[in-house]
Symmetry: C2
Subunit: 337 residues, 2 copies
């Protein structure tokens, strides 16, 4: 059984005494086949252990029953959760979908993004989810009218042909900042991430402040590296300012955790001396002490939504210009603010 090449549709046909055409028709259901014949064919398939060769099928039909997801790093919980949401939707057997998922890690490198984009196009995937920062900025994608549906995650690009799903970072950040204000904070600082992303969060912070009639003070805005260490460093410089901020909104949870580290280190009590809120609601948010008040970033739902948009196009249910769906980012209040 190992040496022998796989059993083909022809083998099945021969075994039953019909033509390959007929076998194909019972498999696809595209044309009527007499019940008796169908019966015999099914049995032969079972008996011989026939399994269709998907390369041949793909060559002929031009579809691969596979979607690709291009992410910076599958190790990052946001992307792995997003990927899972996508995979669950496009591969939902009970809903009659059976797309597999092909994953590419770019590490944010433009060169790898390009390489993988070509790779997946060459592979003939039926749909592509791009959650990698640079690529979307890359005109390549929009320029090449690739016949393959694409959905971009969380960018702010205007591609009239690709669908897009993005979280409402701005509103989430605004709610977080407003929450801080409503708790009585007078001097609300912000720890931002690297300048390449997260602009929505930056804007939400500013919006909440101005809406409440507070000034935006540059010395209370510091950038970190999206990491715990980055948050620590930023928090240190923030806490040395006078007057000292009594609340800080961090552009992600990791930095918020770093900020809490430093608060403890300085003998400051959270949230009494300084309140902290994060963004993302990663698992660690409930592990740190005190539990982190944060904004939920709907990774799973984002993946699901991307999957739905893709499905619509892959099945031809929707053909039209790019749609955008934006998902809410609810505030989840715990103990750090």
């Amino acid at each position: 059984m190992s040496r022998r090449s796989r059993v083909t549709i022809g083998d099945v046909a021969r075994h039953v005494g019909v033509s390959p055409t007929t076998v194909s028709h019972v498999l696809s259901g595209k044309r009527l086949v007499a019940a008796a014949t169908k019966q015999r064919i099914m049995q032969a398939i079972e008996e011989l252990g026939y399994r269709p060769n998907s390369a041949a099928r793909q060559l002929r039909t031009n579809r691969s029953r596979m979607v690709a997801v291009i992410v910076p790093d599958i190790t990052n919980p946001y992307y792995s959760v997003l990927t899972r949401g996508l995979a669950d939707v496009v591969g939902a057997a009970d809903a009659g979908h059976d797309y597999g998922t092909y994953v590419c890690n770019t590490d944010g490198s433009l060169e790898r993004e390009r390489r993988y984009l070509h790779d997946v196009l060459d592979r003939g995937v039926d749909g592509i989810v791009v959650a990698s920062v640079n690529l979307a900025a890359e005109p390549d994608l929009a320029r090449r009218r690739l016949g393959t549906p694409v959905v971009c995650i969380g960018g702010e690009y205007d591609d009239r042909d690709a669908d897009m799903v993005t979280a409402d970072d701005r509103a989430g950040a605004e709610a977080a900042t407003a929450h801080l204000l409503s708790r009585g904070a007078k001097r609300v600082a912000m720890i931002r991430g690297a300048p390449d992303a997260g602009a929505g969060r930056d804007r939400g912070y500013v919006a909440a402040l101005t809406a409440a009639g507070h000034p935006v003070r540059e010395e209370w805005i510091v950038r970190g590296h999206w990491t715990r260490a980055g948050g620590q460093e930023a928090m240190r410089t923030l806490m040395s300012r006078r007057p000292r901020p009594d609340a800080v909104f961090c552009a992600n949870d990791l930095m918020a955790i770093g900020a809490i580290d430093v608060a403890h280190e300085l003998g400051l009590r959270v949230p009494d001396d300084v309140a902290v809120v994060g963004f993302d609601d990663v698992d660690a948010a409930t592990i740190v002490r005190p539990p982190l008040t944060t904004v939920r970033n709907p990774a799973y739902e984002t993946g699901e939504e991307a999957g739905r948009l893709l499905l619509d196009r892959m099945r031809g249910v929707y053909t039209g210009s790019g749609r955008t769906v934006v998902l809410p980012c609810p505030l989840v209040v715990r103990e750090s603010a």
Copy 2:
């Protein structure tokens, strides 16, 4: 450019005035082609934007340049990190490898494991990494002499044909328990996971105890669900025992974190009143207070190793009976014990 079907090898050949055979040869380098001809062909390829159709190639050559990884849940950090290690090795462009990675989530369901196994075999992947518990126990895998290389992760199956890579759970657990003992703990308990896995960790605990001449007391061994909540529950019952254990080794970090939750809740100090050590060294281990002493589970290296074993077989460098590589699990001492 969108409507027209892709440019084929024939188009290139025609454009240059040679046969498709020749174009194929310059692409594969399998036969000599005159330098001048090669030059012209390369230029035409560039000009026309030719990209080989991988379905056709796969149909002909019977290889897909793709490996599959079957995991319970890509969302689990252990598996996403493992997957990344695998992807990095088999897709290392600079080492001349260009396998893509196809991911399947089984949620531990036997039915889905079977389904995905068939799926990837039908797809003709060149190699399979199985990191899902049930499957390996499943005779299916071993029984069918599938011509595709398989490596199993972390099981204890004896499949003479599949390679295997596993972490030395037993030694790690033994070291962790010994560490507790060496710190002066007299009553070392253990929180185990669900019975379906982690036997090595169970055994390491017992081994360390007996090696030190301590009895193994059943009332100090409790099972949790591998989750934080499971750890909490287990810890609660453990802490109600009299005499109360003064140290607990948890079969994973999540449960250890739950255990620490409960210790705090009961007003017990960690590690003074009760020392805690975990297993895995997840990111959260450094976030919880006190930072968790734990055993590092080399997820990335496990994926890498699996990739190497696969590569060896896919390139035909190694053909022989199943090899097993076991990776060490070093103890990392922090503050919880």
